[in-house]
Every structure is written in C-alpha cells, then in structure tokens.
C-alpha cells in the first residue's frame, strides 16, 4: 500500500486509503473531496450518456504540481497538518472516483473544508491531466477552461 501523499496511479482509488495517508494523532477532522465519473454529462446538444472515461496524465509533472498545491494549502491554512491528492489514469467506469483529495486538521474549524475546496480548484487549473469521454458512437477529448495566467505567460499563443 502506497503512502505517497501526491500520486498519479492506474489503481482504483479508495477514500479509506487516502484517509489513512493523512491520519495524524493530533488531527480530529478529515475532509475529503471525490470527483466521480458521471453517467450523464450536459453538452450543447443536451444530456448525453457516458460509457466510460479515459484519463491521461503527464505523470511526473502532475505529481509535482499536486505537491505544490499541498504546499500552498499549508501556507494558507497553517493549522492543516496533512494534505493528500490522488488522481487515477486509464479507463474509468461510471461511479468510480477519478480524483481524491484529503485534508487533515486538529479541529473541524481549522479550515479543512476551505482547504479541500481550494485544492480541487487548483488541481483543475494547473495539474496536467486530461480526460477523454467515450460514448457508444464516439469520443471526445475534454479540455479545461483556458487559464489566462498560464496562457498569457506560456506558449506560443501568448
């Protein structure tokens, strides 16, 4: 069983597992967020059923960016004792978690909810992972919103 706090893995994710990774003797509160593969996705043409998803990651950079998010969380919420972020790659079925985030604090009022929410927002913005959605009649790469602070600074299109 891995004890890494920031991990990109093809193995199915477990909330009990990530919870163990952040459990500390002085922490009475653990908040988690799970991103789950939805069976229905809204598109411009209306609701569409998903068969399965395929996630591709730039693994080394993704883990590095996740660790950076952990550092940001600890700097913003000094009471946070541990952060873990896990993201799965490969084929995922409906109902399976694609990403898990866990934040441990001594007490529930120490920012664990806000810190967890911050972490998923940041993950969506900077962690290099992409999703390919598959239906019976086709597939599509899902791109995130353009991040002005990245796009303006980096790459040829700036």
């Amino acid at each position: 069983m891995s004890t890494k706090l920031f991990e990109v893995t093809a193995t199915p994710l477990s909330l009990d597992d990530i919870s163990r990774r952040v459990t500390r003797a002085d922490c009475g509160a653990i908040t988690t967020f799970a991103g789950i593969v939805r069976g229905e996705t809204a598109t411009a043409e209306g609701a569409r059923g998903t068969d399965f998803l395929n996630y591709e990651a730039y693994g080394e950079m993704a883990e590095s960016m996740m660790a950076r998010i952990g550092d940001e969380v600890m700097a913003k919420w000094p009471a946070v004792k541990a952060v873990s972020i896990l993201h799965r790659t490969g084929r995922l079925e409906i109902g399976e978690p694609s990403v898990l985030i866990a934040v441990a604090t001594p007490h529930r009022g120490d920012g664990c909810f806000d810190a967890c929410r911050y972490a998923i927002e940041r993950l969506k913005a900077i962690v290099p992972i992409w999703k390919e959605e598959n239906w019976s009649d086709g597939q599509v790469w899902v791109e995130g919103p353009r991040q002005p602070e990245l796009a303006a600074e980096y790459g040829k299109t700036s």
Binding site: E143, K156, T157
Partner: protein, 97 residues
C-alpha cells in the same frame, strides 16, 4: 543541442507520436523550440490553438532559455478531476475547436 519534446492528449493524438527528440541551436529559447515544432509538425496547428508549455515539468515562459537534455512538453488546457469541464468537440479536421 538536443531536447526531448513530449505531447499529451489531443496534441499527442493529432501528431501521432508522444515524444521526439528535437535539435536546436545553442541559445535557443522555448519560443524558438515551439517555432521549430510548428515548422516540422504543422498538423499540430500550435500557431492557432491554445496550449500550455512546460520545461522540465514546470510551466515555462516563451523566453526561457533551453539547455541540452531539457524536456519540453506541450499540451492542451488541463481537465483533471473529472467534473465541471467545458466540453471541446473533436472536429472533423482533427483539431479541437
């Protein structure tokens, strides 16, 4: 000098490869590398699409100087997490609109 170029997701699929070596003159910047990639692989259409670039697993600016052995990655806007994404339809011409 030689750098390693890595592509991901749509870009990898459009190009048909995930990594290639790229020879550049000494003193080349990331912007120079991107121009050379655009010249050698026009199907990527990186001159007209939104993408991000990283050097050695860090987001990088166009003026960043490259060194021999660097890893240059280019990829579309990220969509990790599996939720709340904007859908981008795969076009018939092989580009993401």
């Amino acid at each position: 000098m030689e750098v390693r170029v890595r592509l991901f997701a749509t870009l990898r699929q459009q190009a048909g490869w995930s990594q290639q070596p790229l020879t550049l003159p000494d003193g080349a910047t990331l912007r120079d590398a991107l121009a050379e990639i655009d010249r050698q692989y026009p199907a990527l259409s990186i001159g007209t699409r939104t993408f991000y670039a990283a050097v050695n697993q860090e987001y990088a600016k166009g003026e960043q100087l490259l060194r021999d052995g660097d890893e240059v990655a280019i990829f579309p806007p990220v969509s990790g997490g599996g939720i709340d994404e904007r859908m981008t339809r795969w076009q018939d011409d092989g580009t993401a609109g």
